[in-house]
């Protein structure tokens, strides 16, 4: 069980709903371990600042997380958490293992820019 303050995705159906109903989504798929906890905390801190992004976590050992573990974008990943960024339901970026706040912010700013499209 992930005891974070993020919204949890418990099933593949939850995951499908989250990425289909929201334009910008970040999902952290991990465990309660040293490489994952800092990423959850960063996401919790950034929720307020990035209101146009929906932040979720998903337990790596939940069999339903195959929706993330089987993504072509995570091929070669050998470190948790697998953090996936979705735009309009499509994967736009995926990272493996611990990330810094600056690294996460850089991805959010680049992939989920709030600039109004012409």
């Amino acid at each position: 069980m992930l005891y974070t303050n993020l919204k949890h995705l418990e099933s593949a159906a939850d995951h499908r709903k989250a990425i289909s109903e929201n334009e910008n989504v970040m999902v952290i798929c991990g465990r309660m371990g040293p490489m994952c906890i800092p990423v959850y905390e960063i996401a919790e801190e950034l929720e307020e600042e990035y209101r146009h992004v929906k932040f979720y976590d998903m337990e790596f050992d939940n069999p339903e997380s195959h929706v993330i573990r089987s993504l072509p974008e995570v091929r070669g990943f050998m470190g948790i958490p697998f953090t996936i960024y979705y735009k309009d339901g499509k994967v736009v970026k995926a990272t493996s293992s611990i990330q810094t706040r600056e690294q996460v912010k850089a991805i959010l700013d680049r992939e989920f820019s709030t600039t109004v499209k012409a």
Binding site: E45, M78, G79, S97, I98
Partner: protein, 319 residues
């Protein structure tokens, strides 16, 4: 001076030392702000299970950090985490901390508890293959290396204990260490030496990581021979100790040759009104319990300093 942003004490760092200082200061009615650049709890949150914290049989570091944070807040301590410090003035009577987003906080006393972080090798390819074969956590990533051949870099307790733990998954573990002897306790060395899956490369260093989608090999240099050769491996776990997070304190307080803050037995630094505690100070043993003890002493000493300052400021000026 902006009085809303002036505190009696500012604590920099929210690991067990900083949170304990926050608890003691706030409970003593000292207006306290904790500023923290990383996750609240520091290295403690990275510990899966703490079984030697007196009074608590078993708890995760994450949970213990959460309780300490709640306790500090319950006494009125303010905590701002995931901030970035832009500049620091510790030498003036009123200490000043400026954040990168522009906010300036001032205080009569500062307690430095910035903690430490895992040391990295700093060789080419390390960043590139982090999470793609290079790991710093056996518990987290061990199962990705089931039936694979891996290396463990380091010679301390963590390196040897994690090497043994990784044999649950890996078919072969090679421990690579730069010295001709281990720094680990004898029982850890013995356990590793008795494990048939573990072999050792002593007096060798890794000079580069190679691969495509994931790590495939390393360049390994023999320190005795000076010869470098390529060594095939599916993974590399790095456990080469910790470094104090004190880069931002260089030239501001006295540090020793390893960058650790020098304090006296009351946790005072060489600067009046500036104290330090926890893993970033010069000391031998680094445990949650020692950090908590340091934080207590620093808070009591800072509290006494602030009280003396209050009394001094109330006294009429000498004629």
């Amino acid at each position: 001076m902006n009085t809303a942003n002036h505190y009696d004490a500012i604590v920099i760092g929210a690991g067990p030392a900083g949170l304990t200082a926050g608890i003691y200061l706030s409970r003593a009615r000292v207006r306290t702000l904790i500023l923290n650049e990383g996750a609240v709890g520091g290295q403690m949150v990275l510990t899966h299970e703490i079984a030697n914290y007196p009074g608590v049989e078993s708890i995760s570091g994450y949970q213990l950090a959460g309780i300490m944070k709640k306790q500090a807040k319950s006494f009125g301590c303010e905590i701002k985490s995931n901030i970035l410090i832009d500049s620091l003035d510790l030498s003036s009577p009123v200490k000043q901390v400026k954040l990168t987003e522009g906010t300036v906080y001032t205080a009569d006393a500062v307690i430095l508890t910035p903690g430490g972080r895992s040391r990295t090798l700093g060789v080419k390819g390390e960043d590139e293959f982090k999470g793609r074969g290079i790991s710093y956590c056996a518990t987290c990533d061990g199962d990705f290396f089931t039936d694979k051949e891996i290396i463990v870099i380091g010679g301390g307790n963590s390196a040897l204990e994690e090497a043994v733990s990784l044999t649950k998954y890996a078919s072969k573990v090679t421990v690579v260490h730069q010295f001709d002897h281990f720094q680990a306790f004898e029982h850890a060395v013995e356990e590793a030496r008795n494990n048939p899956k573990i072999s050792f490369l002593m007096e060798f260093v890794i000079t580069r990581f190679f691969g495509n989608e994931k790590l495939e090999s390393v360049d390994i240099k023999g320190l005795a021979s000076g010869v470098t050769r390529n060594f095939k491996t599916d993974g590399a776990f790095i456990f080469i100790g910790y470094v104090p997070n004190t880069e931002f304190l260089k030239g501001k307080v006295n540090l020793n040759q390893w960058g650790e803050i020098i304090v006296d037995s009351n946790m005072k630094t060489n600067i009046e009104g500036v104290f330090a505690a926890g893993d970033s100070i010069a000391k031998k043993y680094r445990q949650v319990t020692t950090a908590v003890a340091d934080g207590t002493v620093a808070a009591l000493a800072a509290s006494a300093f602030i009280n003396e300052l209050r009394i001094k400021n109330k006294q009429p000026a000498e004629i």
